[in-house]
């Protein structure tokens, strides 16, 4: 896997919580008389930030779903026996895998129209849809590589055994090879999801109302520079709380499947 495995551990969580508290302390110390306490301020903004976070998750779900489905096909195309198909799929995969995510995001924002007209019906394309699509592209490319890698990691003797039992290529793929791949693909796929979730904040740059954008709005509304560190630490904590269990689960699965295969 080129996408390096993210290794989150509990001590990082403790560190993060510590940093958050220290930041709160600093902010509190800088607070002027009459201003509400730092925790009160954060608490006040939490419902809004939480809504933003839910939006981040929604973007991550949709981008992951779209990227996975298209990536499965693209990965399968990469090992096609038809050379042009395989070459084309390989090109698309490598193009989107080696492009910076932010650049892809900008491309989608500015290249896609804000609405399309199909059979006289005008369908608007909101910004968040474009951002989701922009994030789905690198996911697709990475899933494609996960699929190709998993299929090619199955020993060729499995293909041989299937062939000598008169299975055709399609049956071999769907009944014998792919089911064995699922286990191998799950850990890198979950890892990719965690990376994607953390990347959804990139959407703030193109103006989607997700957690990061809302945090910036909250900060400018409060207009207290001391809050900066506390608020961003708070956002980090939210993401950590979400991604940490996924990372732990991935590690557990990796270990379990390493034993079994």
């Amino acid at each position: 896997m080129r996408t390096a495995s993210i290794k989150l551990n509990a001590s990082q969580g403790v560190l993060l919580a510590g940093a958050f508290l220290v930041a709160c302390g600093i902010a509190q110390a800088q607070a002027q008389a009459g201003q509400p306490s730092i925790f009160e301020t954060i608490w006040k903004w939490t419902p809004l930030l939480a809504r933003g976070f839910v939006f981040n998750l929604a973007i991550s779900f949709v981008a992951m779903a779209v990227g996975t489905v298209t990536g499965l096909f693209l990965g399968y195309a990469q090992i096609s026996l038809l050379r042009p198909v395989a070459k084309g799929a390989k090109f698309v995969t490598h193009f989107f895998r080696n492009a910076p995510w932010l650049v892809l995001l900008f491309y989608c924002m500015f290249l896609l129209p804000f609405q399309v007209t199909v059979f006289g019906v005008t369908i608007p394309i909101p910004d968040w849809t474009k951002a989701t699509l922009g994030l789905a592209l690198p996911v697709m490319a990475n899933v494609s590589e996960i699929v190709r890698g998993a299929i090619q990691s199955i020993p060729t003797t499995q293909w041989e055994a299937a062939a000598s039992l008169a299975f055709n290529r399609r049956q071999t793929m769907w009944m014998i090879i792919f089911p064995q791949c699922v286990k191998r693909m799950l850990p890198p796929w979950m890892n990719l999801y965690a990376i994607l979730t953390m990347s959804t904040v990139l959407a703030s740059i193109v103006g989607v109302n997700e957690m990061m954008t809302l945090t910036q709005r909250a900060l400018s509304a409060e207009n207290r520079p001391g809050l900066l560190l506390a608020f961003y630490s708070y956002v980090l904590l939210w993401f950590f709380a979400y991604c940490y269990p996924i990372a732990r689960w991935t590690v557990r699965l990796e270990a379990r499947y390493a034993v079994n295969q």
Binding site: T157, A163, S164, Q171, Q180, N260
Partner: protein, 271 residues
């Protein structure tokens, strides 16, 4: 097998065909290779191999590693294309099979068992056996299940039907692999060093299974290093080296009175 049992092996009269449409072919060998050449790139693996196997015959192929034994088997079921020559199996002219569909038709008649078993690790022993008849031959599930259970009992693994390959010993896996091949009711069985990866104790259980098959009249081509087994079971032994058949004959002759110096040298090393 649940189909009509083969009569006991007769030395002279080949057992009658119990199924298939080519029953009238009389004394025609079921497998026939003529001057088969095969090469990987510029490396010639087979340099003109000719032999035939009568219906119900057992042929053992022996020889040093790298002499093209495994490739030979893979040519017979069309896993590896040949450069020139001809291979006929039943009514199939193997070198002329180009499309997948044609090759699949051939492989329904010729089944292969591998050195590394190659069971499907995500399926139980029973499912491993049932898969191909179910999805390739499209036979009814109940019938396939009955046959698979009978085959498992035949290889002595009735109790292991729900075990996954990873939970079975090497010998047990190999016996499931043999049952899996038999479930396709092939005309010819190819065995590629099926005991080479096993410890001496489990070799016996696998050989017993093959012995039983051969006695029931299954046509078998075995690549093997088990000389005692070859001597006991084979109608004909082929000694290969450097991509050619150096010498062939009934086991008593080849093992006891080898004609060629190369054969003598090989046998003196291993016997």
């Amino acid at each position: 097998m649940t189909e009509a049992p083969h009569p006991p092996r007769g030395r002279s009269a080949p057992p009658p065909r119990v199924r298939g449409e080519g029953g009238s072919e009389g004394g025609r060998p079921i497998v026939e290779l003529r001057d088969v050449h095969q090469a990987f790139g510029t490396f010639e693996v087979l340099k003109g191999v000719t032999f035939s196997v009568p219906k119900g015959g057992v042929v053992c192929v022996i020889g040093p590693s790298g002499s093209g034994k495994s490739t030979l088997l893979r040519c017979i079921n069309g896993l590896v294309p040949i450069r020139s020559g001809s291979i006929r199996v039943a009514d199939f002219e193997v070198e002329k099979l180009v499309t997948d569909r044609d090759k699949i038709a051939l492989r329904k008649e010729v089944s292969m068992v591998f050195q590394q078993y190659n069971l499907f690790p995500h399926k139980t022993a029973l499912d491993n056996i049932m898969m191909a008849p179910l999805h390739v031959l499209k036979e009814p599930r109940d019938e396939v299940r009955g046959r698979a259970l009978a085959l498992l009992a035949k290889v002595g693994l009735a109790a292991k039907r729900d075990a996954y390959p990873g939970e079975l010993s090497g010998g047990q896996q190999q016996r499931v692999a043999i049952a899996r091949s038999l479930a396709m009711r092939p005309e010819v069985m190819l065995f590629d060093e099926v005991t080479a990866a096993l410890d001496p104790e489990t070799v016996k259980e696998v050989l017993n299974t093959i012995r039983q098959l051969a006695r029931e009249g299954m046509t078998c081509i075995l690549v093997t290093h088990e000389m005692r087994f070859a001597r006991e079971l084979a109608d004909e032994v082929l000694f290969t080296d450097g991509g050619t058949i150096v010498e062939s004959g009934p086991p008593a002759m080849l093992f006891d009175r080898p004609q060629k110096e190369r054969t003598r040298a090989f046998l003196s090393q291993i016997l």
